[in-house]
Protein backbone atom coordinates (compact mmCIF):
# COMPACT_ATOMS: atom_id res chain seq x y z
CA UNK A 1 0.00 0.00 0.00
CA UNK A 2 2.83 2.41 0.85
CA UNK A 3 4.23 1.67 -2.59
CA UNK A 4 1.05 2.81 -4.30
CA UNK A 5 0.80 5.91 -2.09
CA UNK A 6 4.46 6.70 -2.68
CA UNK A 7 4.04 6.51 -6.43
CA UNK A 8 0.90 8.64 -6.33
CA UNK A 9 2.69 11.15 -4.10
CA UNK A 10 5.54 11.56 -6.54
CA UNK A 11 3.16 11.90 -9.48
CA UNK A 12 1.15 14.53 -7.59
CA UNK A 13 4.30 16.50 -6.69
CA UNK A 14 5.56 16.40 -10.25
CA UNK A 15 2.21 17.59 -11.63
CA UNK A 16 2.02 20.33 -8.98
CA UNK A 17 5.34 21.74 -10.24
CA UNK A 18 3.95 21.74 -13.79
CA UNK A 19 0.84 23.62 -12.62
CA UNK A 20 2.99 26.15 -10.79
CA UNK A 21 5.08 26.87 -13.90
CA UNK A 22 1.88 27.22 -15.93
CA UNK A 23 0.34 29.59 -13.39
CA UNK A 24 3.46 31.77 -13.34
CA UNK A 25 3.55 31.92 -17.15
CA UNK A 26 -0.16 32.84 -17.29
CA UNK A 27 0.31 35.57 -14.68
CA UNK A 28 3.20 36.96 -16.69
CA UNK A 29 1.42 36.79 -20.09
CA UNK A 30 -1.90 38.28 -18.88
CA UNK A 31 -3.64 37.10 -22.08
CA UNK A 32 -6.90 35.20 -22.75
CA UNK A 33 -4.79 33.00 -25.03
CA UNK A 34 -2.96 31.60 -21.99
CA UNK A 35 -5.56 31.28 -19.21
CA UNK A 36 -4.45 30.55 -15.65
CA UNK A 37 -5.35 27.27 -13.85
CA UNK A 38 -8.38 28.84 -12.02
CA UNK A 39 -9.77 30.10 -15.31
CA UNK A 40 -9.45 26.64 -16.81
CA UNK A 41 -11.15 25.13 -13.75
CA UNK A 42 -13.98 27.65 -14.21
CA UNK A 43 -14.36 26.56 -17.83
CA UNK A 44 -14.35 22.94 -16.66
CA UNK A 45 -17.07 23.67 -14.10
CA UNK A 46 -19.15 25.49 -16.72
CA UNK A 47 -18.86 22.59 -19.17
CA UNK A 48 -19.73 20.12 -16.41
CA UNK A 49 -22.74 22.17 -15.26
CA UNK A 50 -24.19 22.39 -18.77
CA UNK A 51 -23.89 18.62 -19.21
CA UNK A 52 -21.68 19.04 -22.28
CA UNK A 53 -18.64 17.64 -20.54
CA UNK A 54 -20.23 14.33 -19.54
CA UNK A 55 -21.90 13.97 -22.95
CA UNK A 56 -18.73 14.61 -24.95
CA UNK A 57 -16.42 12.65 -22.68
CA UNK A 58 -18.88 9.76 -22.75
CA UNK A 59 -19.09 9.78 -26.54
CA UNK A 60 -15.31 9.93 -26.91
CA UNK A 61 -14.65 7.24 -24.30
CA UNK A 62 -17.16 4.92 -25.94
CA UNK A 63 -15.38 5.36 -29.30
CA UNK A 64 -11.99 4.83 -27.64
CA UNK A 65 -13.19 1.66 -25.90
CA UNK A 66 -14.75 0.11 -28.98
CA UNK A 67 -11.96 0.95 -31.42
CA UNK A 68 -9.25 0.04 -28.89
CA UNK A 69 -10.87 -3.32 -28.16
CA UNK A 70 -11.36 -4.01 -31.84
CA UNK A 71 -7.76 -3.08 -32.68
CA UNK A 72 -6.35 -5.20 -29.83
CA UNK A 73 -8.34 -8.29 -30.80
CA UNK A 74 -7.77 -8.04 -34.57
CA UNK A 75 -4.17 -6.89 -34.22
CA UNK A 76 -3.31 -9.68 -31.78
CA UNK A 77 -4.84 -12.33 -34.00
CA UNK A 78 -3.03 -10.98 -37.04
CA UNK A 79 0.29 -10.62 -35.16
CA UNK A 80 0.21 -14.12 -33.68
CA UNK A 81 -0.67 -15.56 -37.08
CA UNK A 82 2.20 -13.71 -38.76
CA UNK A 83 4.55 -14.86 -36.00
CA UNK A 84 3.52 -18.50 -36.39
CA UNK A 85 3.45 -18.70 -40.18
CA UNK A 86 6.48 -17.52 -42.15
CA UNK A 87 4.43 -17.81 -45.34
CA UNK A 88 1.72 -15.50 -44.01
CA UNK A 89 4.41 -13.10 -42.85
CA UNK A 90 6.03 -13.06 -46.28
CA UNK A 91 2.65 -12.41 -47.92
CA UNK A 92 1.13 -9.95 -45.45
CA UNK A 93 4.18 -8.51 -43.67
CA UNK A 94 4.70 -5.78 -46.31
CA UNK A 95 1.02 -4.76 -46.00
CA UNK A 96 1.44 -4.33 -42.27
CA UNK A 97 4.53 -2.18 -42.81
CA UNK A 98 2.65 -0.11 -45.39
CA UNK A 99 -0.32 0.49 -43.08
CA UNK A 100 2.04 1.19 -40.19
CA UNK A 101 3.47 4.12 -42.14
CA UNK A 102 0.23 5.38 -43.69
CA UNK A 103 -0.69 8.73 -42.03
CA UNK A 104 -3.69 8.43 -39.74
CA UNK A 105 -5.34 11.34 -41.53
CA UNK A 106 -5.29 9.50 -44.87
CA UNK A 107 -7.07 6.50 -43.39
CA UNK A 108 -9.64 8.70 -41.66
CA UNK A 109 -10.43 10.75 -44.78
CA UNK A 110 -10.68 7.64 -46.95
CA UNK A 111 -12.95 5.92 -44.41
CA UNK A 112 -15.30 8.93 -44.38
CA UNK A 113 -15.22 9.28 -48.16
CA UNK A 114 -15.86 5.62 -48.82
CA UNK A 115 -18.20 4.69 -45.96
CA UNK A 116 -19.86 8.01 -45.17
CA UNK A 117 -19.75 10.26 -42.12
CA UNK A 118 -21.07 7.67 -39.72
CA UNK A 119 -20.12 6.08 -36.41
CA UNK A 120 -18.80 2.85 -37.85
CA UNK A 121 -16.58 4.57 -40.40
CA UNK A 122 -15.13 6.61 -37.51
CA UNK A 123 -14.47 3.58 -35.30
CA UNK A 124 -13.11 1.48 -38.15
CA UNK A 125 -10.73 4.28 -39.16
CA UNK A 126 -9.30 4.44 -35.63
CA UNK A 127 -9.02 0.66 -35.36
CA UNK A 128 -7.30 0.36 -38.75
CA UNK A 129 -4.78 2.95 -37.60
CA UNK A 130 -3.94 0.92 -34.52
CA UNK A 131 -4.09 -2.67 -35.83
CA UNK A 132 -0.65 -2.65 -37.51
CA UNK A 133 1.00 -1.47 -34.26
CA UNK A 134 -0.55 -4.26 -32.25
CA UNK A 135 0.21 -6.81 -34.98
CA UNK A 136 3.89 -5.88 -35.15
CA UNK A 137 4.28 -6.05 -31.36
CA UNK A 138 2.50 -9.40 -31.06
CA UNK A 139 4.39 -10.80 -34.05
CA UNK A 140 7.60 -10.05 -32.21
CA UNK A 141 6.27 -11.74 -29.10
CA UNK A 142 5.15 -14.81 -31.02
CA UNK A 143 8.47 -15.20 -32.82
CA UNK A 144 10.18 -15.04 -29.41
CA UNK A 145 8.05 -17.84 -27.93
CA UNK A 146 10.30 -20.40 -26.27
CA UNK A 147 10.79 -23.52 -28.36
CA UNK A 148 12.00 -25.38 -25.27
CA UNK A 149 8.68 -24.82 -23.53
CA UNK A 150 6.66 -25.70 -26.64
CA UNK A 151 8.52 -29.01 -26.84
CA UNK A 152 7.91 -29.62 -23.15
CA UNK A 153 4.18 -28.95 -23.67
CA UNK A 154 4.16 -31.35 -26.64
CA UNK A 155 5.89 -34.19 -24.79
CA UNK A 156 3.60 -33.85 -21.78
CA UNK A 157 0.54 -33.67 -24.08
CA UNK A 158 -0.77 -30.39 -22.73
CA UNK A 159 -3.28 -30.02 -25.57
CA UNK A 160 -4.23 -26.82 -27.35
CA UNK A 161 -6.09 -25.00 -24.61
CA UNK A 162 -3.63 -25.74 -21.78
CA UNK A 163 -0.69 -24.82 -24.01
CA UNK A 164 -2.32 -21.53 -24.93
CA UNK A 165 -3.29 -20.65 -21.38
CA UNK A 166 -0.26 -21.82 -19.43
CA UNK A 167 2.60 -21.71 -21.95
CA UNK A 168 1.89 -19.19 -24.73
CA UNK A 169 -0.20 -16.40 -23.17
CA UNK A 170 2.10 -15.79 -20.17
CA UNK A 171 4.94 -15.29 -22.62
CA UNK A 172 2.84 -12.89 -24.70
CA UNK A 173 1.57 -10.90 -21.70
CA UNK A 174 4.37 -8.28 -21.72
CA UNK A 175 3.77 -7.74 -25.44
CA UNK A 176 0.02 -7.32 -24.85
CA UNK A 177 0.82 -4.79 -22.13
CA UNK A 178 3.19 -2.84 -24.39
CA UNK A 179 0.66 -2.85 -27.23
CA UNK A 180 -2.16 -1.82 -24.88
CA UNK A 181 -0.21 1.05 -23.35
CA UNK A 182 1.02 2.58 -26.60
CA UNK A 183 -2.37 1.71 -28.08
CA UNK A 184 -4.37 3.66 -25.55
CA UNK A 185 -2.23 6.75 -26.07
CA UNK A 186 -2.48 6.50 -29.87
CA UNK A 187 -6.17 5.60 -30.06
CA UNK A 188 -7.50 8.46 -27.99
CA UNK A 189 -5.49 10.98 -29.98
CA UNK A 190 -6.78 9.60 -33.27
CA UNK A 191 -10.35 9.46 -31.94
CA UNK A 192 -10.18 13.24 -31.38
CA UNK A 193 -9.10 13.77 -35.00
CA UNK A 194 -11.92 11.54 -36.24
CA UNK A 195 -14.41 13.53 -34.17
CA UNK A 196 -12.99 16.83 -35.33
CA UNK A 197 -13.41 15.82 -38.96
CA UNK A 198 -16.78 14.17 -38.97
CA UNK A 199 -18.70 13.64 -35.73
CA UNK A 200 -21.36 15.89 -34.15
CA UNK A 201 -20.18 15.24 -30.58
CA UNK A 202 -17.22 14.14 -28.54
CA UNK A 203 -14.15 15.89 -27.19
CA UNK A 204 -12.69 16.37 -30.68
CA UNK A 205 -15.87 18.10 -31.89
CA UNK A 206 -15.91 20.32 -28.80
CA UNK A 207 -12.27 21.26 -29.29
CA UNK A 208 -12.99 22.33 -32.86
CA UNK A 209 -15.84 24.57 -31.68
CA UNK A 210 -13.61 26.10 -29.01
CA UNK A 211 -10.85 26.57 -31.57
CA UNK A 212 -13.20 28.55 -33.83
CA UNK A 213 -14.04 30.79 -30.87
CA UNK A 214 -10.40 30.95 -29.72
CA UNK A 215 -11.69 29.69 -26.35
CA UNK A 216 -8.37 28.39 -25.01
CA UNK A 217 -9.75 27.84 -21.49
CA UNK A 218 -12.28 25.30 -22.77
CA UNK A 219 -9.65 23.59 -24.90
CA UNK A 220 -7.42 23.18 -21.86
CA UNK A 221 -10.37 22.13 -19.69
CA UNK A 222 -11.22 19.25 -22.02
CA UNK A 223 -7.57 18.27 -22.39
CA UNK A 224 -7.27 18.22 -18.59
CA UNK A 225 -10.40 16.16 -18.07
CA UNK A 226 -9.41 13.67 -20.70
CA UNK A 227 -5.81 13.44 -19.52
CA UNK A 228 -7.03 12.64 -16.01
CA UNK A 229 -9.24 9.84 -17.26
CA UNK A 230 -6.46 8.27 -19.33
CA UNK A 231 -4.11 8.50 -16.33
CA UNK A 232 -6.73 6.84 -14.15
CA UNK A 233 -7.03 3.96 -16.64
CA UNK A 234 -3.26 3.58 -16.75
CA UNK A 235 -2.86 3.60 -12.94
CA UNK A 236 -6.08 1.78 -12.13
CA UNK A 237 -6.16 -0.90 -14.82
CA UNK A 238 -3.01 -1.30 -16.90
CA UNK A 239 -0.42 -1.12 -14.11
CA UNK A 240 -2.16 -3.46 -11.63
CA UNK A 241 -2.72 -6.01 -14.37
CA UNK A 242 0.93 -5.79 -15.39
CA UNK A 243 2.05 -6.29 -11.78
CA UNK A 244 -0.20 -9.33 -11.41
CA UNK A 245 1.13 -10.81 -14.65
CA UNK A 246 4.73 -10.29 -13.52
CA UNK A 247 4.58 -11.46 -9.92
CA UNK A 248 6.45 -14.69 -10.76
CA UNK A 249 9.60 -12.76 -11.72
CA UNK A 250 12.48 -12.72 -9.31
Amino acid sequence: MTGVLGRLGWSAASLAVLAAVWWAAAAYAQSPLLPSPPQVLDALRAAAASGDLALNLGATLARVAVSFGLAMVLGSMLGVWLGLSPTADRLLGPWVTLFLNLPALVIIILAYVWFGLNEWAAIAAVAVNKVPNVAVTLREGTVALSRDLSEMAAVYRFGRWTTLRHVALPQLAPFFAAAARSGLALVWKIVLVVELLGRPNGVGFELQTAFQLFDVATILAYALAFGLIVQAIEIGVVQPWERAANRWRR
Binding site: D148, L149, E151, M152, A154, V155, Y156, R157, F158, T162, H166, V167, P170, W248, R249, R250
Partner: protein, 231 residues
Protein backbone atom coordinates in the same frame (compact mmCIF):
# COMPACT_ATOMS: atom_id res chain seq x y z
CA UNK B 1 5.66 -49.69 -19.07
CA UNK B 2 6.87 -50.11 -22.57
CA UNK B 3 9.90 -51.27 -24.45
CA UNK B 4 11.14 -49.31 -27.43
CA UNK B 5 12.59 -50.32 -30.76
CA UNK B 6 14.43 -47.49 -32.41
CA UNK B 7 15.25 -48.01 -36.05
CA UNK B 8 16.66 -45.01 -37.85
CA UNK B 9 17.52 -45.62 -41.48
CA UNK B 10 18.69 -42.06 -42.05
CA UNK B 11 18.81 -38.85 -40.09
CA UNK B 12 20.72 -35.98 -41.59
CA UNK B 13 21.73 -32.68 -40.15
CA UNK B 14 20.81 -29.96 -42.64
CA UNK B 15 23.56 -28.04 -44.41
CA UNK B 16 24.18 -24.66 -42.89
CA UNK B 17 26.50 -21.73 -43.50
CA UNK B 18 28.82 -23.43 -45.95
CA UNK B 19 29.07 -26.74 -44.09
CA UNK B 20 27.61 -29.57 -46.18
CA UNK B 21 24.71 -31.74 -45.06
CA UNK B 22 26.01 -34.49 -42.83
CA UNK B 23 24.66 -37.88 -41.88
CA UNK B 24 23.88 -38.06 -38.17
CA UNK B 25 22.38 -41.55 -38.09
CA UNK B 26 22.45 -44.28 -40.71
CA UNK B 27 20.94 -47.76 -40.22
CA UNK B 28 20.88 -47.36 -36.48
CA UNK B 29 19.08 -49.94 -34.37
CA UNK B 30 18.53 -49.82 -30.63
CA UNK B 31 16.20 -52.06 -28.69
CA UNK B 32 15.27 -51.07 -25.18
CA UNK B 33 13.63 -53.83 -23.18
CA UNK B 34 10.48 -53.19 -21.17
CA UNK B 35 11.44 -52.18 -17.64
CA UNK B 36 15.15 -51.81 -18.29
CA UNK B 37 17.31 -48.88 -17.28
CA UNK B 38 19.55 -48.12 -20.26
CA UNK B 39 22.27 -45.50 -20.13
CA UNK B 40 23.37 -44.07 -23.45
CA UNK B 41 26.95 -42.91 -23.23
CA UNK B 42 28.79 -40.80 -25.76
CA UNK B 43 30.69 -37.57 -26.31
CA UNK B 44 28.84 -34.23 -26.44
CA UNK B 45 27.54 -33.14 -29.81
CA UNK B 46 27.14 -36.64 -31.18
CA UNK B 47 23.36 -36.51 -31.43
CA UNK B 48 22.21 -38.11 -28.19
CA UNK B 49 19.63 -35.40 -27.57
CA UNK B 50 18.44 -35.82 -31.15
CA UNK B 51 17.91 -39.52 -30.40
CA UNK B 52 15.72 -38.73 -27.38
CA UNK B 53 13.80 -36.10 -29.37
CA UNK B 54 13.09 -38.62 -32.12
CA UNK B 55 11.83 -41.12 -29.55
CA UNK B 56 9.71 -38.45 -27.83
CA UNK B 57 8.14 -37.49 -31.16
CA UNK B 58 9.58 -33.97 -31.08
CA UNK B 59 11.80 -34.59 -34.09
CA UNK B 60 10.03 -36.34 -36.95
CA UNK B 61 12.41 -35.35 -39.73
CA UNK B 62 14.04 -38.74 -40.15
CA UNK B 63 13.62 -41.95 -42.05
CA UNK B 64 12.81 -44.98 -39.96
CA UNK B 65 10.46 -45.83 -37.15
CA UNK B 66 10.11 -45.81 -33.40
CA UNK B 67 8.02 -48.68 -32.12
CA UNK B 68 6.70 -49.01 -28.59
CA UNK B 69 5.94 -52.51 -27.37
CA UNK B 70 3.37 -51.31 -24.82
CA UNK B 71 1.02 -49.54 -27.24
CA UNK B 72 1.26 -46.81 -29.85
CA UNK B 73 1.03 -43.84 -27.47
CA UNK B 74 2.92 -44.50 -24.25
CA UNK B 75 3.03 -41.92 -21.49
CA UNK B 76 6.45 -40.35 -21.78
CA UNK B 77 8.21 -38.43 -19.04
CA UNK B 78 11.09 -36.34 -20.34
CA UNK B 79 13.68 -34.75 -18.06
CA UNK B 80 15.35 -32.26 -20.36
CA UNK B 81 18.89 -31.00 -20.04
CA UNK B 82 17.43 -27.79 -18.61
CA UNK B 83 14.51 -28.10 -16.21
CA UNK B 84 12.10 -26.35 -18.63
CA UNK B 85 9.65 -25.45 -15.89
CA UNK B 86 7.05 -22.76 -16.56
CA UNK B 87 8.46 -19.82 -14.57
CA UNK B 88 5.00 -18.23 -14.22
CA UNK B 89 3.48 -21.29 -12.57
CA UNK B 90 4.33 -22.58 -9.10
CA UNK B 91 6.25 -25.82 -8.62
CA UNK B 92 3.06 -27.69 -7.76
CA UNK B 93 1.23 -26.27 -10.80
CA UNK B 94 4.15 -27.31 -13.00
CA UNK B 95 3.90 -30.86 -11.69
CA UNK B 96 0.10 -30.93 -11.99
CA UNK B 97 -0.24 -29.55 -15.53
CA UNK B 98 0.63 -32.80 -17.34
CA UNK B 99 -1.69 -34.79 -15.06
CA UNK B 100 -5.40 -35.40 -15.50
CA UNK B 101 -6.47 -33.05 -12.70
CA UNK B 102 -8.06 -35.74 -10.54
CA UNK B 103 -7.78 -35.46 -6.74
CA UNK B 104 -5.76 -38.69 -6.77
CA UNK B 105 -3.16 -37.22 -9.11
CA UNK B 106 -2.91 -34.11 -6.95
CA UNK B 107 -2.33 -36.24 -3.85
CA UNK B 108 0.33 -38.16 -5.75
CA UNK B 109 2.05 -34.94 -6.88
CA UNK B 110 2.05 -33.52 -3.36
CA UNK B 111 3.44 -36.64 -1.75
CA UNK B 112 6.09 -36.89 -4.47
CA UNK B 113 7.17 -33.29 -3.87
CA UNK B 114 7.22 -33.98 -0.13
CA UNK B 115 9.40 -37.01 -0.66
CA UNK B 116 11.79 -35.09 -2.90
CA UNK B 117 12.27 -32.40 -0.28
CA UNK B 118 10.17 -29.87 -2.18
CA UNK B 119 7.20 -29.88 0.20
CA UNK B 120 7.86 -26.29 1.31
CA UNK B 121 8.58 -25.17 -2.25
CA UNK B 122 5.28 -26.40 -3.72
CA UNK B 123 3.77 -22.92 -3.91
CA UNK B 124 6.97 -21.13 -4.93
CA UNK B 125 7.77 -19.91 -8.45
CA UNK B 126 10.64 -21.94 -9.94
CA UNK B 127 13.01 -19.05 -10.55
CA UNK B 128 13.16 -18.38 -6.84
CA UNK B 129 14.65 -21.84 -6.30
CA UNK B 130 18.21 -23.10 -6.68
CA UNK B 131 19.12 -24.97 -9.86
CA UNK B 132 19.25 -28.22 -7.92
CA UNK B 133 15.73 -27.72 -6.63
CA UNK B 134 14.52 -26.81 -10.12
CA UNK B 135 15.97 -30.07 -11.42
CA UNK B 136 14.26 -31.97 -8.65
CA UNK B 137 10.98 -30.27 -9.57
CA UNK B 138 11.48 -31.28 -13.21
CA UNK B 139 12.15 -34.84 -12.08
CA UNK B 140 9.01 -34.75 -9.94
CA UNK B 141 7.02 -33.62 -12.97
CA UNK B 142 8.35 -36.52 -15.04
CA UNK B 143 7.65 -39.04 -12.26
CA UNK B 144 4.24 -37.78 -11.19
CA UNK B 145 3.00 -38.75 -14.65
CA UNK B 146 3.79 -42.41 -13.82
CA UNK B 147 5.42 -42.69 -17.25
CA UNK B 148 5.67 -45.83 -19.33
CA UNK B 149 8.98 -44.51 -20.57
CA UNK B 150 11.25 -42.02 -18.89
CA UNK B 151 13.68 -40.12 -21.09
CA UNK B 152 16.49 -38.30 -19.32
CA UNK B 153 18.92 -35.99 -21.06
CA UNK B 154 21.93 -35.37 -18.79
CA UNK B 155 19.53 -34.23 -16.09
CA UNK B 156 22.27 -33.80 -13.47
CA UNK B 157 24.76 -31.84 -15.55
CA UNK B 158 25.93 -28.47 -14.15
CA UNK B 159 25.22 -29.53 -10.58
CA UNK B 160 27.94 -29.82 -7.97
CA UNK B 161 28.94 -33.40 -7.25
CA UNK B 162 27.26 -33.64 -3.84
CA UNK B 163 23.94 -32.46 -5.23
CA UNK B 164 24.22 -34.64 -8.33
CA UNK B 165 24.91 -37.64 -6.12
CA UNK B 166 21.86 -36.92 -3.99
CA UNK B 167 19.70 -36.70 -7.09
CA UNK B 168 21.12 -39.98 -8.43
CA UNK B 169 20.17 -41.69 -5.16
CA UNK B 170 16.72 -40.19 -5.43
CA UNK B 171 16.30 -41.35 -9.02
CA UNK B 172 17.44 -44.88 -8.13
CA UNK B 173 15.00 -44.99 -5.22
CA UNK B 174 12.10 -43.72 -7.31
CA UNK B 175 12.75 -46.22 -10.10
CA UNK B 176 13.11 -49.06 -7.59
CA UNK B 177 9.75 -48.22 -6.05
CA UNK B 178 7.86 -47.68 -9.25
CA UNK B 179 9.60 -49.53 -12.07
CA UNK B 180 9.58 -47.92 -15.48
CA UNK B 181 11.64 -48.10 -18.64
CA UNK B 182 14.41 -45.51 -18.50
CA UNK B 183 16.61 -44.20 -21.27
CA UNK B 184 19.29 -42.08 -19.66
CA UNK B 185 21.65 -40.03 -21.81
CA UNK B 186 24.94 -38.93 -20.28
CA UNK B 187 28.59 -38.36 -21.12
CA UNK B 188 29.63 -39.43 -17.61
CA UNK B 189 30.66 -43.08 -17.64
CA UNK B 190 30.64 -43.36 -13.85
CA UNK B 191 27.13 -42.05 -13.66
CA UNK B 192 26.03 -44.48 -16.38
CA UNK B 193 27.47 -47.49 -14.57
CA UNK B 194 26.18 -46.38 -11.21
CA UNK B 195 22.55 -46.11 -12.33
CA UNK B 196 21.87 -48.33 -15.33
CA UNK B 197 21.52 -52.04 -15.82
CA UNK B 198 22.75 -51.71 -19.38
CA UNK B 199 25.22 -49.22 -20.82
CA UNK B 200 25.21 -48.47 -24.54
CA UNK B 201 28.23 -46.53 -25.75
CA UNK B 202 27.82 -44.55 -28.95
CA UNK B 203 30.48 -43.45 -31.41
CA UNK B 204 30.39 -41.71 -34.77
CA UNK B 205 29.26 -39.84 -36.76
CA UNK B 206 27.28 -41.38 -38.23
CA UNK B 207 26.23 -42.70 -34.85
CA UNK B 208 26.77 -46.38 -34.23
CA UNK B 209 26.82 -48.54 -31.12
CA UNK B 210 30.45 -49.03 -30.15
CA UNK B 211 29.76 -51.08 -27.06
CA UNK B 212 26.65 -52.57 -25.50
CA UNK B 213 27.07 -54.10 -22.09
CA UNK B 214 24.77 -55.35 -19.38
CA UNK B 215 26.16 -54.17 -16.07
CA UNK B 216 23.66 -55.81 -13.72
CA UNK B 217 20.57 -57.95 -14.02
CA UNK B 218 17.66 -55.88 -15.19
CA UNK B 219 14.98 -55.20 -12.62
CA UNK B 220 12.33 -55.12 -15.33
CA UNK B 221 10.07 -57.71 -16.86
CA UNK B 222 12.49 -58.68 -19.62
CA UNK B 223 16.19 -58.97 -19.08
CA UNK B 224 18.37 -56.62 -21.13
CA UNK B 225 20.06 -58.54 -23.88
CA UNK B 226 23.75 -58.96 -23.48
CA UNK B 227 25.61 -58.59 -26.71
CA UNK B 228 28.72 -57.20 -28.23
CA UNK B 229 28.93 -54.31 -30.65
CA UNK B 230 26.16 -54.41 -33.18
CA UNK B 231 24.71 -52.27 -35.86
Amino acid sequence: MTGVTVHIRAKTFPAQSGAPERALYRDFLLEVADGSFVAVLGPSGLGKTTLLNMIAGLDRAFEGEIRFTGGAEPRIGYAFQNPRLLPWRTVLQNVLLPLDGSPASERRARSLLEEMGLGDAADVYPERLSVGMQRRAALARAFALEPDLLLMDEPFVSLDEANAEKLRDLLAALVARRPTTVLFVTHDSREAHRLADRVVTLAGPPVRIAEDRAVRPSSGATAGTESGPRR
